[in-house]
């Protein structure tokens, strides 16, 4: 715990979406905050009462807040409890309505100044871009491009054409850029900053993870027969998409992570159910592709089965087909056009 505050203080007002909207210095001995115009600081939050909270010094000079019997109360964010009176400490965070009030003393240490290029002619922005994120995002994009090039090369059975590689290498990073840009726009609307490079880093990492896991699953299936490749791959894909969305939402609404996770969870569950419901339809339109997964002979394979075992497994398919026969054929006018 910090020492009680006695000196002059600053209040930072952060909106529901997590954007810093205002800083106010308190110089006197009392200071009131609320939605009404009699206050020293007006907060435009419908959940804040007209007279909500008062800051005041006691005889020792320590700062206190009093909740002025507000409708939605004042919450001490350090332990998430409602308070009516509280002594303030350095960096104390209070929630009134949807608004966050953070208390700073004049001793608050700000980050070091960002070095400007070009002789300091440009004006320094208050929110300097964290250069490490830019660097990581750029590296992720390079790796995504390189992975695409590698996968194209491993499947290159005809003449190598530069155009195929250029297209393949640029394609995925371009999609990632577009995706990150869309998220940055959303973030800019909701919060103060777009955080473009953070979004780009997130999608880059997700793409790399997906291709890496995809390759691992394929190899695990081929060599160890540990996993059922298609099932694991679809599960992993959904998980990765879920994680991707959650990470983006965490940037957009940092104060609502739990809500974001619930939204993502619901979306993923809905998508998986839809996937399950449409399975038959998809199977009809696009039957399974078989023997697409040969790997070079120098890689070990899982132990082969005997022909007896093989045909036991093959015969086990028959009852399912007999069962399927008894069902009515699917409707001819499904989406995706006619069948024959």
């Amino acid at each position: 715990m910090s020492e009680p505050l006695t000196a002059a203080i600053w209040i930072e007002v952060t909106s529901k979406a997590g954007a810093l909207t205002m800083r106010q210095r308190i110089t006197g001995d009392t200071f009131s905050v609320g939605r009404g115009y009699q206050n020293d600081l007006i907060v435009d939050d419908p959940a804040v009462s007209p007279a909500h909270i008062r800051f005041s010094r006691d005889e020792t000079g320590a700062w206190w807040i009093d909740d002025l019997a507000s409708d939605n109360g004042t919450v001490d964010m350090s332990n998430d409890t409602r308070v009516s009176r509280l002594q303030l400490t350095e960096n104390a965070a209070l929630r009134i309505g949807h608004t966050l009030l953070t208390v700073r003393s004049s001793a608050f240490v700000v980050p070091a100044t960002t070095r400007m290029t070009g002789g300091g002619v440009q004006t320094a922005t208050a929110t300097a871009t964290p250069s490490r994120v830019v660097y990581y995002a750029f590296t992720a994009m390079l790796l995504v491009g390189a992975t695409s090039a590698l996968s194209i090369w491993l499947k290159q059975t005809g003449e190598s054409k530069l155009a195929i590689y250029v297209f393949g290498v640029i394609m995925l990073p371009m999609i990632a850029l577009g995706w990150a840009l869309a998220w940055a726009l959303v973030t800019r609307i909701v919060a103060a900053r777009g955080q473009f490079f953070r979004h780009l880093l997130i999608v880059g990492v997700a793409l790399l993870a997906m291709s890496l896991i995809g390759a691992l699953v394929k190899y695990a299936d081929y060599t160890f027969a540990l996993v059922n490749a298609s099932t694991v791959e679809s599960a992993v894909t959904w998980l990765a998409i879920g994680a991707l969305l959650a990470a983006h939402l965490r940037v957009v609404v940092p104060n609502r992570v739990r809500l974001a996770l619930v939204v993502v969870g619901v979306l993923i569950v809905a998508a998986i159910s839809m996937d399950y419901v449409l399975k038959e339809e998809r199977q009809r339109l696009q039957p399974p592709q078989i023997v697409t997964s040969l790997l070079p002979s120098f890689l070990p394979t899982k132990p082969p089965v005997s022909t007896t075992r093989l045909f036991e497994a093959i015969n086990a398919l028959k009852p399912d087909l007999e069962e399927e026969r008894k069902k009515d054929p699917p409707q001819q006018q499904g989406f995706g056009g006619d069948v024959d």
Partner: protein, 450 residues
């Protein structure tokens, strides 16, 4: 012609005989081959005309014809023979289609389907009245003893424009056909299906069934008459056969037929065909026609060679306009790596052996179920003679016919000394057990060269 997609020839052949009512296209496109009608032909035509029929399939709701074929009388009380494919729409969908006949004098009447033989594409129908003159079967033709080159006359109602006679020559039974068909060197046109082909003394020598597509000229096919007499003499119910009973009967006929076919394939056996370091089984059966194919002449020069041989049964049984069955085809492939790395060559081989992505006819077939694994044939020390194979099996069941399946089976031997091999088998209209037995046999014969 480098590679005929043989599998589809019979499809086109039969389809070309199911008359499309809009026949002007065929007329315009038909090569102007002059057909010299001799004095004999004139006499035959005059003599045969009252015994000929046009057989129409009408759409119940519109009372308009949806297809036409021909037929001929074989008894005074109105029994007639035609092709199964001429009556199949009515046979399978009696609620939607009905049949009628039109005789040479223009009189019309209703027809009933009494019996059929899908394997030989024949149907026995009963006219609604008696008092007809009729044809007799040629005894030499019944015993397959017609001399090659004998003049024959095909009759029928081509393109729904009136009864006609066309002259041709007997050219023996079609070689390499599992089901017997007569090869007639002569013209045949859509709408003549089910009509008779006569000898000079107006006896039946065969029943019109198909002609060859793919730019071939004057190559036509007849069903031997012995199948027609067998159909006539087969015990049958007094009631006409329609709807569900038709499906049961088709299933039964196909079931018996495929059993005999796979027994025969098993008995005839295989001989080893060298494929680099591998030995692939090649069927000894004469009823397969094989076509070789290579990518060697592609430009730019391929970085891996794929040489394949597709062996196909010259046989496809017509069940419905969108359902042919009974075909077995075997594709042997040999891959040689020229300048690819291991991953690229594996991808090349996978790409050339991939299967299961063919769309199935959802109305007729269930969705496809597949199983894929790595298998090694033989027991103990014998295993050294076999390659490890990537094996896949895909099957779908016929919705309408109990116990019949379409199965595709592929076994791929991965790279060994820069070479790989694969064998793919397509089995249509087979029992599950017969397909498995055939596939097992293939695995037992797929070896490493010692």
């Amino acid at each position: 012609m480098r590679r005929l997609p043989v599998r589809f020839i019979p499809v086109l052949v039969l389809a070309s005989l199911l008359v499309a009512p809009t026949s002007s296209f065929a007329v315009e496109k038909a090569p102007a081959t002059p057909v010299i009608v001799s004095a004999t032909a004139e006499a035959i035509y005059r003599d045969a005309k009252p015994r000929l029929l046009q057989i129409r399939t009408l759409l119940n709701s519109a009372s308009q014809k949806s297809s036409t074929g021909s037929g001929f009388l074989i008894s005074a009380d109105g029994l007639a023979i035609t092709n199964y494919h001429v009556v199949s729409q009515h046979a399978l969908e009696p609620q939607t289609y009905r049949m009628e006949y039109v005789s040479a004098d223009g009189s019309k009447g209703a027809l009933k389907l009494l019996a059929f033989d899908t394997l030989n594409d024949l149907a026995l129908v009963q006219l609604d009245k008696g008092g007809w003159t009729y044809f007799e079967f040629d005894q030499r033709a019944l015993a397959d003893r017609l001399p090659r080159g004998e003049r024959l006359f095909s009759l029928g109602n081509p393109l729904d424009i009136g009864f006609a006679v066309m002259e041709g020559n007997y050219s023996g039974l079609v070689e390499r056909s599992y089901n017997d068909r007569i090869h007639l060197s002569g013209p045949m046109n859509p709408g003549m299906s089910g009509g008779p082909t006569l000898t000079t003394d107006s006896k039946i020598a065969g029943i019109n069934v198909a002609k060859s597509g793919w730019g071939a000229e004057q190559v036509s096919f007849l069903v031997p008459t012995r199948f027609a007499t067998a159909l006539m003499n087969k015990p049958r119910l007094a009631e006409p056969i329609t709807g569900k009973a038709v499906r049961t009967e088709i299933g039964k006929q196909l079931g018996v037929w495929q059993s005999a076919l796979y027994d025969k394939l098993d008995t005839i056996g295989f001989k080893p065909a060298a494929s680099g370091p591998f030995l692939l089984p090649e069927s000894n059966a004469v009823f397969f026609t094989c076509w070789a194919n290579t990518n060697a002449d592609e430009k730019p020069a391929p970085r891996a060679r794929a040489d394949s041989t597709l062996c196909n049964m010259q046989n496809s049984l017509f069940i419905a306009g969108d359902l042919f069955t009974g075909n077995v085809s075997i594709k042997r492939s040999h891959f040689t790596n020229l300048s690819l790395n291991g991953f690229q060559f594996a991808y090349f081989v996978s790409n050339h052996s991939a299967m299961g992505n063919e769309r199935t006819n959802a109305k007729r077939m269930t969705p496809t179920a597949c199983h894929e694994d790595i298998a090694l044939a033989g027991e103990g020390a014998e295993q050294a003679a076999y390659p490890r194979l990537r094996v896949a099996w895909c099957a779908s069941a016929y919705r309408e016919f109990d116990g019949l399946f379409n199965v595709s089976f592929v076994a791929v031997a991965p790279e060994r000394d820069g070479q790989a091999a694969a064998i793919t088998v397509f089995m249509n209209g087979t029992s599950y057990e017969n397909a498995a037995r055939f596939a097992r046999r293939i695995l037992a014969e797929f070896k490493v060269k010692s």
